[in-house]
């Protein structure tokens, strides 16, 4: 009997405990408060070679912040594959971190959820003012005309990386400045199992980054002024076709690249299988794959021949990471203080040097370290010829829909199926129809 009773008591206890934990939680408020001013939770994105490396890089800085302010920051580095889902879950449940990193292309989408603290003039003032940041970086932090949903933290842009030896062997002296030249050089380079250009055909985001820039060069924005999808304009079709044609028509991209999605094109580059890649801050990866800095060169991404020409024509997206604060934080002042710390001139120099990115803070950019050849190209591109991806709430849908269309076109090209203006338009038409407004 005693056993029976004990069993009953235990089951009851477990049930009650399960019930309590199940129903517990869920205290979300809208305003943000200063209920727990001594702690902060921070989700960092994975910027270094690994999660562990990021922890090692960030922890001393967080200790510094704790020493200055007495606020303890609990750090979690979230891998890119999980970050957006984690943010969505945090938004839905109201149980998120206080401060977090977001990919800047998500800014407008996350802004639309209303869960992030808007960076109006007052909030910007608290971290030293909006003027401290580069305009294009702030423009990539939310919808135009609304207070940004985040603050720029690390900036990046695309550049053309090329293998010096392969260029010399093919008798090419300078990196191509126009697409016409790139294709011409590319045909010289693509032989004997080697290829001119690398692509990540199955990586939806990368497909978007590349075709968006080509779209800008063809005067296509992919969204109209009201934020409605416009994927089938002549410019958009031409841009997508031009990108896929590097494989389909020009045959300067290896067919195998159609299934690349995990940076295999960088490995091919490091192994001397491909002569060029269009990438953002690739130096650390090349070094990790055993390339020496003198093996490769870097140049601005090519533009079409003719006006407006190099330096003026858009040739990169504004890539980068923004820092956001959840509105319902229990330490709103501390969160702003932390953003201020992370975007201070000194921290920007330290972190961007480590990560190989460009500081979006003007004063920090002046540091001579950012004038090294690779970073100078990235910095100049950001300053003069980079454009933010469409800052519309359904940007995420756009990446999936159009990114998949490009992926499928690459698959066609790789299988030897024809890629025509009609087939490109049909895929984009389908992509556009799946966009729910």
């Amino acid at each position: 009997m005693r056993h029976l009773r004990a069993a009953a008591a235990i089951t009851l206890a477990i049930s009650v405990a399960a019930g309590v934990t199940g129903c517990g939680g869920g205290t979300s408020s809208d305003g943000g408060s200063n209920e727990s001013p001594k702690t902060l939770t921070y989700w960092a994105s994975n910027q270094g070679p690994s999660i562990e490396a990021d922890k090692k890089i960030l922890t001393p800085e967080l200790k510094k912040f704790e020493k200055e302010t007495g606020i303890k920051v609990k750090l979690e580095v979230v891998p890119w594959a999980d970050l957006l889902n984690r943010i969505l879950a945090a938004t839905t449940s109201g149980q998120g971190p206080d401060v977090l990193n977001i990919g800047n292309t998500w800014s407008a989408s996350l802004q639309a959820t209303g869960a992030l603290l808007p960076w109006d003039d007052k909030n910007f003032e608290a971290i030293g003012g909006r003027d401290r940041f580069i305009d294009s970086a702030v423009a990539s932090a939310g919808k135009e005309g609304e207070p940004p949903a985040a603050v720029p933290l690390y900036s990046l842009s695309y550049a053309l990386y090329y293998n010096k030896k392969m260029f010399a062997d093919a008798g090419i002296t300078t990196p191509p400045a126009t697409w016409e030249q790139l294709v011409k050089d590319g045909k010289k380079l693509s032989k004997d199992g080697k290829w001119a250009l690398g692509a990540e055909g199955s990586n939806l985001s990368n497909n978007i980054h590349q075709t968006f820039v080509l779209g800008q060069q063809h005067e296509a924005d992919f969204f109209d002024a009201e934020g409605k999808a416009d994927f089938t304009s002549d410019g958009a079709v031409a841009a997508v076709k031009q990108y896929v044609d590097f494989m389909a028509k020009d045959k300067i991209v290896a067919p195998g690249n159609a299934e690349y999605a995990q940076n295999q094109s960088l490995t091919d580059f490091a192994k001397g299988k491909t002569a060029m890649v269009l990438w953002q801050a690739a130096a650390t990866t090349f070094a990790a794959q055993g390339m020496k800095p003198e093996d490769w060169g870097v140049a601005p991404v090519p533009v079409p021949a003719g006006a407006p020409g190099a330096g003026k024509q858009t040739n990169s997206m504004v890539a980068g990471i923004n820092m956001a604060v959840f509105k319902n934080t229990k330490n709103i002042d501390g969160a702003k203080e932390f953003v201020k710390f992370m975007t201070s001139d000194e921290e920007q120099k330290i972190l961007c040097k480590t990560y190989g990115s460009i500081p979006p803070v003007k004063a920090a950019q002046e540091d001579p370290a950012f004038a090294a050849p690779e970073l100078k190209v990235l910095r100049d591109t950001l300053a003069t010829s980079a454009a933010p991806l469409p800052q519309v709430p359904n940007e995420s849908q756009f990446e999936t829909a159009v990114g998949t269309a490009v992926k499928e076109l690459f698959a066609d090209a790789a299988a030897g199926k024809p890629v025509t203006t009609e087939s490109v338009k049909a895929r984009l038409e389908k992509a556009q129809q799946t966009m729910q407004q």
Binding site: M1, R5, E259, A411
Partner: protein
């Protein structure tokens, strides 16, 4: 223990109607009333399971069904309550097969049906073949049994990632064997994009699923009395006749459950296509689970995604009910 149990009911009865637990309260813990102990204890013991079932399965399911009637996009995820009710609009979008979203869903549904048919069929066939072959006692039988179960024991993600490597066009093992060594193809084939992707999916799914069929059927085969085979062979039945007349009919009850479980797992499988193909599967391998994931998480339209999930749930319920109805009727018939 026994003594306490036998005496307790009497004590309880005598205590009924008086102030309960007053006298012996210090010595004995408050007692569970007889009625509850007799009739209610099973329910009490079930309570944790029921509560957890509610928490983990039923409540999320109900929330999902509610979501399917709302326009739950990114504008409302931080405050669900504000998402407008849309009635059946999400459903009409999902089943409007002339419009792109419905058409894509229907396509995905057909792909999933074809995939499930082959994946379950082959997994069962391999499972039953291996189970029958390993019934005979021979050297190395234990070793083979263990080896056959390896795919089932491996973590799904690790195993499928390995397959994804093997299916790579330029550096993968599959093309290395088929193209480089055997010369069966003119050009290295793509497995992870394009038309072949469904084959890659079926191969991985069968590889992953058949050990379970093997395990279940092997256990079931142990229960068939050997005398039946002996009698059959005395009567002159060959191996095929023995399999057809004795083995398969005896396996029927196990097969009934096994095929249903494999069907449900395979139809709903998310891990395999997700790890093989990433967020957007090729059209030829666009399974319904990944299609729904894309419709909700990637495009942030949880209302439509939920509506699709509810439709999938209904479909699976109907299939299961029909399947159970026919198979159990058939069994009753054969018994009669």
């Amino acid at each position: 223990m026994t003594a306490t149990v036998t005496t307790d009911p009497r004590v309880d009865k005598s205590a009924r109607g008086t102030s309960r637990g007053s006298g012996g309260a210090r010595r004995r813990l408050p007692r569970i009333p007889d009625r509850i102990r007799r009739g209610g204890l099973p329910y009490l013991l079930l309570l944790p399971a029921v509560l957890l079932e509610l928490l983990i399965h039923l409540i999320p399911m109900i929330v999902g069904i509610v979501m399917s009637f709302r326009q739950l996009t990114q504008f409302f995820i931080s405050n669900w309550g504000a998402a407008p009710w849309t009635g059946l609009e999400n459903y009409s979008i999902a089943v409007d097969f002339d419009a792109p979203i419905g058409e894509a869903l229907l396509h995905s549904f057909f792909v999933t049906c074809v995939f499930t048919f082959f994946a379950v069929g082959l997994a069962w066939l391999f499972g039953v073949t291996a189970a029958i072959l390993l019934q005979e006692n021979f050297r190395g039988r234990g070793f083979l049994r263990a080896v056959f179960l390896v795919p089932y024991a491996l973590p799904v993600y690790a195993a499928v990632i390995t397959w994804a490597f093997m299916f790579q066009r330029d550096n993968g093992l599959v093309n290395h064997v088929l193209h480089d060594q055997l010369g069966l193809t003119d050009q290295p084939s793509f497995w992870l994009i394009g038309d072949n992707s469904i084959y890659a999916l079926i191969i991985v799914s069968v590889w992953k699923g058949w050990p379970f069929a093997f395990l279940m059927l092997m256990a079931a085969l142990q229960n068939i009395p050997r005398e039946l085979y002996e009698a059959a062979s005395i009567d002159g039945a060959g191996i095929w006749q023995q399999i057809r007349r004795i083995t398969l009919p005896s396996l029927r009850p196990v097969n009934q459950v096994l095929v249903l479980v494999l069907f449900l797992w395979t139809f709903n499988d998310f891990n395999t296509p997700y790890v093989l193909f990433g967020k957007s599967a090729p059209a030829n391998a666009d399974l319904i689970s990944i299609h729904i994931y894309q419709s909700s998480f990637v495009t942030w339209n949880f209302g439509t995604g939920s509506a699709m999930s509810v439709l999938l749930l209904l479909f699976l319920l109907v299939v299961t009910a029909v399947y159970l109805f026919f198979t159990s009727r058939g069994r009753k018939g054969s018994r009669a």
